[in-house]
Symmetry: C2
Amino acid sequence: MGEALREQIEKIVSLTDNEFEKVLSHFNLKHFSKHQFILQADSLVMSNYFIIKGLIKSFYVDEAGKEHILNFAMDNYWITDLEAFQYRKEARLNIYCIENCKTLSITYDRLEALCDNMPKMQYYFRKKADYDQALLNKRILCLITNNATDRYHDLMVHSPELVNRVPKTMIASYLGVSRETLSRMILQRM
Amino acid sequence: MGEALREQIEKIVSLTDNEFEKVLSHFNLKHFSKHQFILQADSLVMSNYFIIKGLIKSFYVDEAGKEHILNFAMDNYWITDLEAFQYRKEARLNIYCIENCKTLSITYDRLEALCDNMPKMQYYFRKKADYDQALLNKRILCLITNNATDRYHDLMVHSPELVNRVPKTMIASYLGVSRETLSRMILQRM
């Protein structure tokens, strides 16, 4: 059940079978259906989710009711409202299943306990956070240079499967361009 | 010399005098003059810098030669090209001193050794990375909702001193608005 999680962790740190059993005991298996919300804005954020299988979007709805897609996540990604999770407060984001999803969830307290008890996992989560930070910085650079073509190119290079699975209207919304502009970008790459 | 660094670390984890001495021994004191580059694009990124005193901007220069400000950092902030630092590759960013700067720098290898040898510091850097990630996500949300007024408001709330110290033309560039639009925002807040 947890093989996908183990594979991700072992990209950074190797674990014995016993160690991985201990890690896994901190998680809960949770299924969500297509169109179901894992998290809704203004609710308390209890868990961080490792996606074994599925496709998810996180988005923010502004005061005018407009939806802004922050992220997509699929097999082997983690997703939550990170700020709310860290500070144990209400979410600003909505997290919604585009496909049926099978996840391993971990609460804030269980994650802290896991790190306290297993130095290897403290190391894993530090390195993971560092790599994720580098990706976020890259995304900010793409956003401030305001280059939708580069953003699309980055998506294609780093997540080609995601681009194929996510409906094109959502990809356009994520890139901040119209559906027509995205079609032109796709044609240019062919 | 390292009191500012100790104060920042102790916001997350407490250290004995001996422990802090050990931490400090992993850093080097470095001074930079106003207008000096700490890092230039295409050079190898050797260190992460904790700023004891000073004011710094990190920016990216696009192919057309246009400068895009990614971040400002001042007293008690850390700065580097995080992606290049993590992967020990060439920088995409430039890091430039707006004021004279006094820093404590740590190399990648020394930081890893520090975390290996002191579980408290592994914990510190994990939590710091998590908090920083939450801030980056918040910044991305501001950027994709494309709301310069909110971005300015966030800066004023979280870094009022920074807003006072950084030249207004740089703040405008950071927010992605013209100098005139920024003046209107400032007037609206009075």
